[in-house]
């Protein structure tokens, strides 16, 4: 039976897709700003965050309205509660893009400590995780969500690599590099946290589709 409720759920999915695209763009631009040490571009990312915050409020309100008025059950209930959780994760990812942009502003008046290799690579992983997670959400694809979770190991590995390099090869040898190394170290940390949020989203999607809790239970993957 066709339900009016399905149309509401479709609108909600569309809204989440638009929000995810904006978050993805914010992350990309914050790292682009880093590559070119472009403070103006970094400030654009910071300004645009307000729009993403508004999107979160609108989507959460939409979910609450549907919970209150439609009193959903089973898959519908899991979809709506996970949609709320996913928008929260997306908003936090956007906040991390702002954090990266703020680090770029700190770095903008100094030459780059080293050529950027691993940070752009970590950015690619973060973006792939977001895209895959959102595709999994839109297409109810639990297998794709599982792949996202597995990608997080590579993100952790890269972050550790960046951290080790900056501490051992730069700060330990020449403490005066700290003012340029610490912001890079934090950026790697922010990117890795973005990947953690993408993992959260993927875990929520698996719960939404299979009703299986994989969060804190990797053995259920």
């Amino acid at each position: 039976m066709q339900r009016h409720f399905d149309e509401e759920l479709r609108k909600l999915k569309d809204g989440i897709l638009i929000m995810a695209t904006s978050v993805d763009q914010a992350i990309l631009e914050s790292v682009e700003a880093l590559k070119t040490l472009d403070a103006s571009k970094a400030k654009d990312v910071i300004t645009c965050d307000q729009k993403i915050d508004e999107m979160e409020n609108t989507l959460q309100e939409h979910c609450l309205n549907l919970l209150a008025c439609q009193q959903p059950m089973a898959i519908d209930l899991r979809f709506l509660t996970m949609a709320m959780s996913i928008t929260t994760d997306l908003e936090r990812m956007a906040d991390l893009a702002v954090d990266i942009a703020q680090r770029v502003c700190e770095l903008a008046d100094k030459p780059l400590l080293k050529p950027l290799i691993d940070i752009p690579q970590l950015t690619v992983i973060a973006q792939q995780m977001i895209k895959k997670a959102i595709n999994a959400f839109l297409n109810n694809d639990a297998d794709l969500a599982r792949k996202v979770i597995l990608m997080d190991n590579e993100a952790d590995r890269l972050r550790n690599l960046i951290q080790k390099e900056l501490i051992c090869d730069y700060m330990a040898k020449d403490p005066t590099t700290a003012t340029r190394a610490v912001p890079l170290l934090l950026i790697a940390r922010h990117l890795e946290r973005i990947c953690d949020h993408a993992t959260n989203i993927a875990e929520d999607i698996i719960y939404m589709i299979d009703a299986k809790v994989v969060k804190h239970h990797p053995e259920n993957l």
């Binding site: 039976m1 339900r3 409720f5 009193q71 959903p72 059950m73 089973a74 898959i75 899991r78 009703a211």
Partner: protein, 254 residues
């Protein structure tokens, strides 16, 4: 069933109205001091099922029942069991409140007198206790000799519950008890059911999914005479195992 004590058990129950196979090999346990909800579309056999639990369907001609139904360890279908005794131990409240055309006091005392209780003090104590347990005492204590028919629908339904409680049953069966009530009366009955489960075992048939979700501990979904799924209520409404259950409770059915 989490090793809970079982108050009633249906084992391999089949039921026919003439040739119509209304219930098919039903196996279902009703846990003591818990609320078990029976849901399903009209004609699925849910009312037929709970009516079997106090042998009400025997009054319908041309029906056949096979299988076993136990109340504790008692096989209630055994020929040597008096159906009236089963109905005393397993009370029923119906969809439409059906008070007797008598006063409020007599509505409760009548069942006691029919059951052979003559001690006036005992009857009075039992009437007061039943009305208190049914959360209607405060509303009727000053007009016990008014006609029960002058009460509101919600009050009449609570009076019917009190009438049921007076003869001290062990199990209470509710067949859509709120179907004809407004939301406030419905909420009062639901609160009452949650209170009553401390002392009684309860089975309720309801079309109201939210009601089943709010008040029951276990839920069984019936479809075309089959028990499709039986599980903890939160499992049924959060992540049912069977797609037919999911289709029904999300309104995709049909």
């Amino acid at each position: 069933m989490d090793n809970l004590p079982i108050k009633m058990r249906a084992h391999g129950v089949d039921f026919f109205y003439g040739q119509h196979h209304a219930l098919k090999n039903i196996n279902l346990d009703i846990a003591k001091n818990h609320v078990t909800a029976i849901i399903g579309p009209s004609g699925c056999g849910k009312s037929t099922f709970i009516r079997l639990l106090n042998r009400m369907n025997e009054m319908v001609p041309n029906t056949t029942l096979t299988g076993k139904i136990y109340l504790d360890c008692l096989d209630i279908l055994s020929p040597c069991i008096d159906p009236a005794e089963v109905r005393r131990r397993v009370g029923m409240v119906f969809q439409k409140p059906n008070p007797f055309p008598k006063n409020i006091f007599e509505n409760i005392s009548y069942g006691l007198e029919v059951n052979g209780i003559k001690n006036k003090q005992l009857i009075e104590d039992r009437v007061v206790e039943s009305l208190k347990k049914s959360a209607i005492w405060d509303e009727v204590k000053d007009r016990l000799h008014d006609s029960a028919l002058r009460l509101s629908g919600g009050q009449q339904q609570r009076l019917c519950i009190a009438r049921c409680l007076a003869i001290q049953p062990e199990v209470l069966l509710f067949d859509e008890p709120c179907a004809s009530l407004d939301p406030i009366s419905t909420r009062k009955i639901e609160e009452l059911i949650l209170e009553l489960k401390k002392d009684y075992t309860i089975a309720i048939v309801t079309h109201n999914m939210q009601q089943a979700a709010r008040i029951s501990d276990y839920t069984g979904f019936f479809l075309l005479g089959d028990l499709i799924e039986f599980d903890k209520t939160e499992k049924i409404f959060k992540a049912p195992h069977d797609s037919r259950t999911e289709d029904y409770i999300t309104g995709r059915f049909g």
